[in-house]
Symmetry: C2
Subunit: 454 residues, 2 copies
């Protein structure tokens, strides 16, 4: 990076920038992508005006800018592969407004979603998207994140009403409307959701909130095989019970959670199914229907967690499963898949995965948001053992191919980043020229998070 650019940044951001090795290092990697790359400088923006100043320096000196908040991406989205400025938005972390009767909130991009839910709680509301990590709203919009709540409430795409976005040109645009609906011209809001910071920097979001459910219970349902559990999930969704969450954890995942959390869940394939209702009577009725569905699907046990503390602990375990699994093999590197298929095809796709792993002698863990057909397989191995690692990547590729064959997608919620670029070509090769054209419209010099998606 040019000295002049750095000098300009220093003059503008004395206390809000750093070139300290530890700061550069912490902005060089994400939570899962194996490679890292140092930025030249980290700037901590505290306002939209700061963001615009950074973009001006970038534009003037042709320096890449990579938006960053928590660094919880999975596919390398925040890794500054071409160096330049890591634009840290974590200090833009204020919930600006909560509109109780509009069921919405206006937030800065660095707000973490648990914090938004915490602030919405006194209004009887919560924010419904809950990825595993304590992610920021801006980052979550940028990868179209979801989580366990998506089966009922949808993904980030369904939650964002309106955004302010700073463009590399120095312009700030508003995409969307504060109202629930709009049909006003081409929908640019959805272009920026999932754009992984390659088109502009999100500086403000208006998002939906939802009423906190009144009566809630979680069923812990065990099975002899993953296949039985998956079939049960398909049945439950077909019964129209509209669960709040329906999560699959396989035996290895439960084992990891038990070790990490000191819990004693039976180490066998399990569905954790949360139901809610507007009253206790109805909840009991629905739980009875659920129990019948599960028993018909060869469940081996069906235990209810009714206490809030127990439910919270359960979902915390689920949210930390990724870290628990990594902890289980601290010496290993890990590789996660993020396939999503039509739910009716899930049993066949999961069986295909199991057969592949067996054939390749791979130790893999399966967990996922099976209610919407999205599931993750976490592989682990020694990245310095080329044969083993090659095998992991090969199985992963074959799994993608299978998901695409049944009409699914290579990524349900993690996005493309660096790692899935070749899969995007497989899935939407015909669209890539148009995506590049759109990129060129907003960022003709390819300064915003270059190297990602394409």
């Amino acid at each position: 990076m040019h000295f002049e650019a750095l000098d300009t940044l220093k003059a503008l951001f004395s206390n809000q920038m750093s070139v300290a090795p530890s700061v550069l290092e912490s902005h060089s990697r994400d939570e899962s992508y194996p490679e890292s790359h140092l930025p030249d400088v980290v700037v901590f923006a505290e306002s939209e005006a700061d963001v615009l100043k950074v973009l001006e320096v970038a534009r003037t000196h042709q320096v890449p800018v990579v938006p960053f908040a928590v660094g919880s991406s999975i596919e390398g989205q925040v890794v500054p592969v071409h160096g330049g400025i890591s634009l840290d938005l974590s200090r833009m972390n204020r919930v600006l407004q909560i509109h109780q009767s509009d069921f919405s909130a206006v937030v800065q991009p660095g707000v973490l979603y648990p914090e938004l839910s915490r602030q919405a709680r006194p209004y009887g509301l919560f924010f419904a998207v809950d990825p595993g990590a304590d992610a920021s709203l801006g980052g979550m919009a940028s990868t179209n994140a979801s989580g366990t709540g998506a089966v009922k409430y949808g993904t980030m795409r369904d939650q964002v009403l309106d955004m302010r976005v700073a463009l590399i040109s120095g312009e700030v645009i508003r995409v969307g409307a504060k109202s629930r609906k709009t049909s006003a011209g081409y929908d640019l809001r959805h272009l920026f959701i999932g754009a992984e910071g390659t088109l502009g920097v999100i500086t403000e979001l208006t998002v939906k909130l939802h009423p906190l459910p009144v009566a809630v219970a979680v069923a812990k349902v065990t099975f002899e095989s993953v296949q039985d559990a998956v079939n049960c999930a398909v049945t439950v969704m077909g019964a129209g019970l509209s669960p709040e969450r329906i999560e699959l954890v396989d035996a290895r995942a439960v084992q990891a959670v038990n070790q990490y959390k000191g819990t004693h869940h039976p180490e066998t394939p399990t569905l954790w199914i949360e139901l809610s209702a507007s009253g206790e009577v109805l909840l009991r009725e629905n739980l009875e229907i659920l129990r019948e569905c599960c028993m018909e699907s060869y469940a081996t046990s069906f235990i209810l967690a009714r206490e809030e503390s127990e439910r919270r602990e359960l979902w915390e375990s689920r949210h930390h499963a990724f870290y628990a699994l990594k902890r289980l093999h601290p010496e290993h590197d890990s590789h996660t898949t993020d396939l999503c298929v039509p739910i009716s095809r899930l049993p066949e796709v999961v069986q295909h995965t199991e057969e592949l792993c067996k054939a390749h002698g791979l130790d893999a863990v399966l967990l996922g948001h099976v209610g919407d057909g999205n599931y993750h397989v976490l592989f682990h191995g020694d990245a310095k053992n080329p044969a083993q690692w090659e095998s992991i990547l090969q199985v992963s590729d074959l799994m993608v191919q299978k998901a695409l064959e049944v009409g699914g997608t290579c990524t349900g919620e993690h996005g493309i980043g660096l790692r899935k670029r070749k899969h995007l070509t497989q899935e939407h090769g015909d669209l890539i020229p148009f995506m590049r054209g759109i990129k060129h419209l907003f960022d003709p010099q390819n300064l915003l998070n270059p190297g990602k998606i394409f």
Copy 2:
């Protein structure tokens, strides 16, 4: 249009094309836009291959193409203002697949939404978007249509999983995935939803279906004033009852419906509120909460319609309100607004509208999907009386300005078409250069529905 183009079309489509005056005339207008323009020829596509042939002729001879199915647009979207080919897709009207356990259907663009719901019914499912007219799915996607069901199920934007789109280049692209979620690159699906046929021709859609509600009732709730009714709608939404529908009809609208349908609803501002539940017990509980909300909001009566026939008749009345209103003044032209605002701002915006109408001595009718902040005002007058018509357009403009001031949009569900181009400039003037850039990417010669949106 060039003779050679017409000759080529004749050779390709002998039985599937027409230049008969009556056919041209029926493709020259939509349901509400005051001006019409004849196409040079109408081609009835029966397959995607037919669509591609038409696009090839258009490309070769630089002829505009305007997609058409039912002609139920409101803002002039299907009017071929530059002549050329009206591409009629109404014969592509097959429901190709219904996937019961995926809650989805694959349809051709000419399928009418009531037909999709009819075919889904044996599976216990229905299609949730219901604009007033018997619109086609392709047209509905192209304007991001919604209707009374949007308050619970969202708009077309929330229903379309996947589309095949024929481009002017001759390429057919697939946007989206058959799975419930995807985060694979820029979201082009949402670009084509609401693009009003200006970017490509939709040739197939995969859409969500929803389980038919089990127990349903409609409350007919009357008020002394529109203000009271609007305030009540805001209260009901805040109570988290998640109604299937919540529709406002003012006294004049009820009067029109009564005359059109021979019904005897009290001719006073009224909310029609549909609640559903998974059982009778819960439904009764929710209806009681609803009754309390309404009574606290100064309702003057609260009457339940429990029979399916009665409910059906009610919603038919609502869906036909637009036609009923036009029938009331057959000698007049009409002008409809389609504002949508954050629901908390609805009382103030409606009051503003009422004051404007009074100040300008205008006879206007108010109805709308007030649960999501979307409401329509239907003006009628003699378009040949310039003073009166000018007054209508002036009030309409002031209403748009007010809606934008409170964070709303000039169109909740009808789109931009020809009529709202200036309002799009007011609302998203900063985005129009980018919209034009996107248009240029997909249709560099401006042959697809030219003159619309911008």
